[in-house]
C-alpha cells in the first residue's frame, strides 16, 4: 500500500472552524425554545437529608420545574456498573438525585429547569435542604482503620475491592535478595480539567419521534445504548451526538453522570429542549477526580543492582462511588513493572471509599501512579547501592530481542499484559543524550558554587494502549460530492481524528486527506463502537478505518478491472484517479467509478453521463450476485490484547531552596508509539500530556479539609500551568511497530503525562542532594519543597 500521507504532518481538516469561532461545542447549540437547567448540589460531604422544600423555588417566575428524587419515578435507580470485576465486591454507583443521604460535596440533590440559567440559579438558592451532618471520611488510611465511620453503611471498612496480582515467588525473591529497600509513596488527588466543562442539550422531536442528546461525552454510543434502555426507547429513537468537545482527558467518560439522565428526562417530560452547561466551580465538585493513592512499596535487589522483586501494597481513593469499577488500580498494578524485567511481583490494592468526588480515569488512568512508585524504587535502590541511576535502568530493561515479553499479569481488558515490541534502552539513550546527562554533574557543581541548585531527572514507562473491545468505521465514496465520507462513533476531543483517519483513507484510495470527511461521535452515523479512552482511538478506530478503506479499494479495483478488462491486481489509485498500471489512459476518476457502482436509473451529475457510457451490454443482473451498490464498506477491528507503547523523559530543573519555587529549564521526551500516522498530532499529544504532568508535579492538587469541604473550588485555588510554567518540550521518536495490527500503530494519547511526577521527584532529589532530600509525595507546593530542605537542616 502506498504511504503518501501516512507519517506526514498533514495540517488538520478541523482547524478552520475552530480558528474562526465556528466550532460546534454543546453549549453553542441552541435549539429554538430551549430552557435551561441547574443542579442544586450538596454542601456537606456526608449527611442525611431530613427535608427538602422546593416550593419557593417552584413559585419563582420563570421556573418550569424543580425535581427531587421523588419526581424521577422508576428512573430513580443507580447508574449501571460499567466495568464490573470479581474483586469489586462492594460496588456503589450514584443515583441521579440523592434521596436520604449525600456522600460528597457536589452530589446532585435537585434539578431546576427555568427560562435561563440566571433564573435557574436563583431558584436553586430558594431550595431549602435540611441536613443532619455525619462524620466525613477524607483520608484513605483513616478510612480503613478499625472503627472508622462508614461512607456506605453496608461496606465494611470502606473497602470496595481488594485486588491482588502476582508473578513468580516474591517471598523467596525477598529472602534471597542482597538488599531490600522500602518506601511510602503518596500521590494526591487532581483532575483532568478540560477547558470546556461538561454540557448536555436534549430535545425530543415529536415529528420524528426521536430523542436527540448533544453531550460532551467521550462515548456517545455507550450513552445512547444506556439511555435507550433507561427511557424504554428503541435504540434508533435515541441519537447521541458528541459534537466538538473541548478536551476530555477521561473526565468526560461515564455512564452516567446524573445530568446525562436528568437532562434528557427533562426534555422528554417538559416537551421542550433542555440545556445544561456546567460551570467551572461546579465542575470542580461535580466532575470526576483521580490520582489519589498511598503506596507501601519495597524493592529487592542483588548487590549488582539486578531487580529481583517488588512488593507493593496500596490504597486507592475512589471517592464516594465506583462508577468506573477498579480500572485505575488495575492499571496501576499492571503497569507498575514498566520497562523492567520483573520476575517476582506482588501487588495488593484496596479500593477505598471516602466522602469526596468519585474517581474515574484521568489521562494516564493509574499509570502515572505506577510509574511514580516503580521509578522511585529504582532510584532508591540506585542511591543505596551507590549506583548510577541511568546504569541501573539500562541493566534491568527488557531488551529489544526479548519481545514478546509476558509480564505475567492481567491487564484492564482482561487480556495478558504481554508487551509486543519496544526498545527501551534506545529511548533512554536518546533522552540522556539530548538532556546532556554526561556533562550535567560538572555544570551542576559549578552552579552550586554560585548558590544555584539544579537537578536532573529521568523516568521510563510502558503504556498499554489500543485495547478492545472493538471499533468500527464506515467508508463510502460519494461520487457527486467528490468526497470520501467516513463515519466512526468514537468521540473527538482535540486528537485530530478528522485528519489522522483521513490520512489512512487517503493512502488507500489515492485522494487527499482534505477530500475525506470524517464524522465522529454521532450515534446515528455509526451504530457500533465503544468510545475514546485508554489511548485506543488511533489503534482501534484507525485500523477499522484502514480495514474499511481497504475493502472499498478492493471493490473499486474489482469494478475498475471489469470496466477496463484488466486484472484487479493491476489497478492503481493516484491523484483521485483509478487506472491500469502502465496504461493510465485506461482509467477514470474515482468519483466516476462511484457513480458507475450504483446502477440506478437516475444518476445525477456530469460524472454520471460520462460514466454510463462505459457500461457495456452485459448479461446478468445490474447488481451482480454478492455485491453491494456503491463503493462502501463497514469494518471493525477487535484487538486480542493491548499494544504497548513506551517512553523515556528527562528534565533539568532549578529549585530555590529558600522559597521552594521550581523552574523547569529543559525537557526532553522520547516517545515510541509504533508507526506514526501524523507526527505533528502525536507531538501535540505529548506536549499536552507533559503540561498536565507538570501540573501534577507542582501545581495541581485538590485539597479537602477534615470535614470533607473542598478547598480547591476555583481556578484561583486549582492551578493549571500557564505558558510561563511549561517549558519547551523537545520531542524525539523511537519507532517499534506493533505486530498486533495491520497499521503497526500504538496509542499516544496519554503518554506525555505518565513519567512526569516520577522524573520531577528524581530531579528534586538531585538538585537538593546537599540536603539528602528524598521526595516521596507528589504534587509538591513551594512550602512542601522548602520543608524538604528544612527538615534536613
Amino acid at each position: 500500500m502506498p504511504t503518501r500521507w501516512f507519517g506526514e504532518p498533514v495540517r488538520r481538516n478541523e482547524d478552520p472552524r475552530f480558528l474562526t469561532g465556528k466550532g460546534n461545542f454543546v453549549d453553542d447549540i441552541n435549539p429554538p425554545g430551549a430552557v435551561h437547567a441547574a443542579v442544586l448540589r450538596s454542601s456537606l460531604a456526608h449527611a442525611r437529608i431530613t427535608r427538602i422544600d422546593v416550593e419557593a423555588a417552584r413559585q419563582l417566575d420563570g421556573v418550569l420545574a424543580v425535581w427531587t428524587w421523588e419526581d424521577l419515578g422508576d428512573l430513580w435507580r443507580p447508574s449501571p456498573m460499567v466495568v464490573p470485576h470479581d474483586a469489586l465486591t462492594h460496588p456503589k454507583t450514584q443515583y441521579p438525585l440523592a434521596k436520604d443521604k449525600v456522600n460528597y460535596v457536589g452530589e446532585a440533590v435537585a434539578l431546576v429547569v427555568a427560562t435561563d440559567r440566571y433564573v435557574a440559579e436563583d431558584a436553586c438558592d430558594l431550595i431549602e435542604v435540611e441536613y443532619e451532618p455525619l462524620p466525613a471520611i477524607t483520608d484513605t488510611e483513616a478510612a480503613v482503620a478499625e472503627g472508622a465511620p462508614l461512607v456506605h453503611e453496608d461496606v465494611p471498612n470502606n473497602v470496595a475491592a481488594t485486588l491482588t496480582q502476582q508473578v513468580g515467588d516474591v517471598e523467596r525473591a525477598f529472602d534471597e535478595a542482597d538488599h531490600v529497600f522500602s518506601e511510602r509513596l503518596l500521590i494526591e488527588r487532581s483532575a483532568g480539567q478540560p477547558m470546556e466543562t461538561r454540557a448536555i442539550a436534549a430535545q425530543w422531536d415529536e415529528l420524528e419521534r426521536v430523542l436527540t442528546v448533544w453531550d460532551t461525552t467521550q462515548a456517545p454510543l455507550s450513552i445512547r445504548n444506556g439511555l435507550a434502555v433507561l427511557l424504554g426507547l428503541p435504540e434508533n429513537a435515541v441519537r447521541v451526538v458528541a459534537p466538538d468537545v473541548g478536551g476530555g482527558f477521561g473526565t468526560k467518560i461515564m455512564m452516567f453522570y446524573p445530568e446525562e439522565v436528568l437532562v434528557p428526562l427533562a426534555a422528554m417530560r417538559l416537551r421542550r429542549p433542555v440545556k445544561w452547561a456546567e460551570d467551572r466551580r461546579e465542575h470542580l465538585i461535580a466532575s470526576n477526580h483521580e490520582r489519589g493513592q498511598v503506596h507501601e512499596a519495597s524493592i529487592a535487589v542483588r548487590a549488582d543492582g539486578t531487580i529481583l522483586g517488588i512488593k507493593d501494597v496500596f490504597l486507592h481513593d475512589t471517592g464516594a462511588y465506583t462508577p468506573y469499577g477498579i480500572v485505575v488500580p488495575i492499571v496501576t498494578s499492571t503497569q507498575l513493572p514498566g520497562p523492567y524485567r520483573l520476575p517476582n511481583y506482588y501487588s495488593e490494592s484496596r479500593t477505598v471509599y471516602t466522602n469526596k468526588v468519585p474517581v474515574t480515569p484521568y489521562r494516564g488512568a493509574g499509570r502515572p501512579h505506577g510509574c511514580f512508585v516503580m521509578e522511585r524504587l529504582v532510584d532508591l535502590a540506585a542511591r543505596e547501592l551507590g549506583m548510577d541511576r541511568a546504569e541501573i535502568r539500562f541493566k534491568n530493561f527488557i531488551q529489544p530481542d526479548q519481545f514478546p515479553w509476558d509480564v505475567g499479569l492481567t491487564f484492564q481488558d482482561g487480556a495478558p499484559t504481554r508487551y509486543d515490541s519496544g526498545n527501551y534502552p534506545e529511548g533512554l539513550r536518546i533522552a540522556l543524550e539530548h538532556i546532556g546527562y554526561d556533562n550535567f554533574p560538572q555544570k551542576q557543581a559549578e552552579l552550586r558554587e554560585q548558590g544555584r541548585y539544579l537537578g536532573l531527572g529521568m523516568a521510563s514507562y510502558v503504556e498499554g494502549t489500543g485495547i478492545g473491545p472493538y471499533e468500527g468505521a464506515h467508508v463510502r465514496v460519494d461520487g457527486t460530492a467528490q468526497k470520501v465520507i467516513v463515519a466512526t462513533c468514537v468521540g473527538t476531543q482535540g486528537q485530530g481524528h478528522q485528519t489522522s483517519f483521513a490520512q489512512i483513507v487517503a493512502d488507500e484510495l489515492g485522494v487527499r486527506p482534505d477530500q475525506v470527511v470524517i464524522t465522529t461521535g454521532d450515534s446515528r452515523s455509526m451504530n457500533w463502537g465503544s468510545g475514546t479512552y485508554a489511548s485506543r482511538s488511533a489503534v482501534v478506530t484507525g485500523n477499522a478505518v484502514g480495514a474499511a478503506s481497504r475493502t472499498v479499494r478492493e471493490k473499486t479495483a474489482q469494478l475498475a478491472a471489469e470496466l477496463f478488462e484488466a486484472s484487479p491486481a493491476d489497478i492503481e489509485f493516484e491523484d483521485e484517479r483509478v487506472f491500469v498500471r502502465g496504461s493510465p489512459e485506461f482509467g477514470l476518476p474515482l468519483w466516476d467509478i462511484a457513480v458507475v457502482a450504483n446502477p440506478i436509473r437516475y444518476a445525477y451529475g456530469t460524472q454520471a453521463a460520462q460514466a454510463i457510457k462505459l457500461l457495456k451490454n452485459r448479461e446478468g443482473p445490474p447488481l451482480p450476485e454478492g455485491t453491494d451498490p456503491g463503493l462502501e464498506a463497514r469494518k471493525y477491528f477487535s484487538p486480542a490484547q493491548a499494544t504497548f507503547a513506551s517512553g523515556n523523559h528527562a528534565a533539568i530543573l532549578e529549585v530555590d531552596p529558600q522559597t521552594g519555587i521550581v523552574t523547569i529549564l529543559k525537557y526532553v521526551a522520547v516517545h515510541d508509539c509504533g508507526r506514526v500516522i501524523n507526527p505533528m498530532i502525536v507531538e501535540g499529544q505529548v506536549h499536552g500530556g507533559v503540561a498536565q504532568g507538570i501540573g501534577g508535579s507542582f501545581y495541581e492538587r485538590l485539597v479537602y479539609d477534615q470535614d470533607g469541604q473542598p478547598l480547591s473550588t476555583t481556578f484561583m485555588d486549582y492551578l493549571i500551568p500557564t505558558a510561563m510554567e511549561v517549558p519547551e518540550i523537545e520531542c524525539y521518536h523511537v519507532e517499534t511497530p506493533s505486530p498486533l495490527n495491520p497499521l503497526g500503530i500504538k496509542g499516544a494519547g496519554e503518554a506525555g503525562v505518565i513519567p512526569v511526577p516520577a522524573l520531577m521527584a528524581q530531579a528534586l532529589d538531585d538538585a537538593l542532594s546537599p540536603w539528602g532530600v528524598r521526595v516521596t509525595e507528589m504534587p509538591l507546593n513551594p512550602g512542601q519543597i522548602r520543608e524538604l530542605v528544612r527538615e534536613r537542616g
Binding site: 440566571y118 466551580r281 461546579e282 521552594g660 501545581y699 476555583t714 492551578l719 510554567e725 507546593n781 522548602r786
Partner: protein
C-alpha cells in the same frame, strides 16, 4: 455561575456617585475594574442590592504630579487603569517600586480593566498595589456627600478586604511620594504561577546618606498578614546604621518574626513567615544595588564586608 439579581446605577461624575453611595450605603457596592468584584458576584459570594458602576466617571482617570506637605509625588485617579500606569513610562521612571510591582499585577487582560483605586480599596493583603501604597507611605483622598478627607496609607487598611472607608465614602485618588535622593527601591514576590496573587511579597525602599549610613528605610510585607504591614522593628534596626548584607539578613529575621500569617491551600503560616524574611533580605539587597551612584561616579551600592550589627 451567574450573578444574583441586583439593581444597577452608573453615575457619570463623582457627585452622582457620592449621591448613590449616600443613598444606598451598605446595600450598594462600588464597581471599578470588576476584576475582583465580578468573580465574587458570579460566585454569589457578594450579593449587593445595588451595583454602582464607576466606569463612566472619566474625571477619575488621570495621573498628575502633586506636592503634598512639601513632598513631591504623583497622584493617580481612582479609576486610572492599571494598564495606563504600565504605559506611563515617564511616571514609572520616577516611581521605581511601582514600576517593578505593576508587572506582577495579574495579566494584561486584567490590567486593561483593573484600576489603581479598585485594587487599593479592595484591600487584598496579597495584592501588589496596596503593598506599594503602604511601603511608600502614600495618602488616599476619600470623599462622601459629607465632605473630603485624606487617609494615610498607615491607616487605610483595617483588615483583609476591609479599607477604612465609611459606607457612604469612596476613594477618589491616591498619592505616592517620589523617592528621596540616594534611594534604591525593590519589589520582590513569590507566587505559585506568573500573575497569581503573591504567596508573600516584600517591598523595600532604602535611602542612604553620604556616609553610606541608612537614613531612611521602609520595608512592607504582603501576603503574610490580614493587611500589608510594615516591618517596623526591622526598619528601626537598620535606620542610622551602616548598611551590610548581614544587617539585611538580621532585618529579614526581624521582619519574619513579627508576622502572624494565616494558612491557605497555597502556603502555610510558617512558610509565609519565613519566606517573608528571605524576601525582605532580597529586596533590601536589590534596593541597595539600585541606590544611584554619587555624582563623582563612586557607588554607594557596593556592600562593604559584613560588620557586626548593633
Amino acid at each position: 455561575m451567574k450573578p444574583p439579581p441586583f439593581a444597577y446605577v452608573d453615575p457619570h461624575n463623582v457627585a452622582e456617585a457620592l449621591d448613590a453611595l449616600g443613598e444606598y450605603r451598605d446595600e450598594g457596592k462600588v464597581l471599578a475594574g470588576g476584576q475582583s468584584l465580578v468573580p465574587l458576584l458570579n460566585m454569589r459570594l457578594a450579593q449587593p442590592r445595588v451595583v454602582i458602576d464607576l466606569n463612566r466617571i472619566t474625571e477619575l482617570d488621570f495621573i498628575a504630579a502633586r506636592n503634598t506637605n512639601g513632598a513631591e509625588g504623583i497622584t493617580f485617579g481612582a479609576m486610572t487603569r492599571q494598564r495606563s500606569v504600565e504605559d506611563a513610562q515617564d511616571v514609572l521612571a520616577q516611581l521605581p517600586m511601582l514600576k517593578e510591582a505593576i508587572g506582577w499585577v495579574g495579566h494584561p487582560q486584567i490590567r486593561n480593566r483593573g484600576t489603581v483605586g479598585g485594587s487599593i480599596a479592595h484591600a487584598d493583603p496579597a495584592a501588589e498595589l496596596p503593598l506599594v501604597f503602604r511601603a511608600l507611605d502614600g495618602a488616599a483622598t476619600v470623599r462622601s456627600r459629607r465632605g473630603s478627607r485624606t487617609i494615610p496609607a498607615s491607616d487605610f487598611f483595617v483588615y483583609t478586604f476591609t479599607p477604612a472607608l465609611e459606607a457612604d465614602e469612596m476613594l477618589v485618588d491616591i498619592w505616592l511620594p517620589l523617592p528621596a535622593p540616594r534611594t534604591g527601591q525593590a519589589f520582590v514576590e513569590v507566587a505559585r504561577r506568573h500573575g497569581d496573587f503573591a504567596l508573600v511579597a516584600a517591598a523595600a525602599s532604602l535611602t542612604l546618606d553620604e556616609h553610606r549610613v541608612c537614613s531612611d528605610v521602609r520595608i512592607a510585607i504582603g501576603g503574610a498578614a490580614p493587611t500589608p504591614v510594615r516591618a517596623t522593628r526591622a526598619e528601626a534596626a537598620l535606620r542610622g546604621q551602616r548598611v551590610s548584607l548581614d544587617a539585611f539578613r538580621q532585618a529579614g529575621q526581624l521582619a519574619g518574626e513579627d508576622l502572624e500569617p494565616t494558612a491557605d491551600v497555597h502556603a502555610d503560616a510558617a512558610y509565609r513567615r519565613e519566606v517573608a524574611g528571605v524576601l525582605t533580605y532580597r529586596a533590601l539587597k536589590l534596593a541597595l544595588e539600585r541606590v544611584p551612584p554619587e555624582p563623582d561616579g563612586s557607588s554607594t551600592a557596593a556592600p562593604k564586608p559584613a560588620e557586626p550589627a548593633r
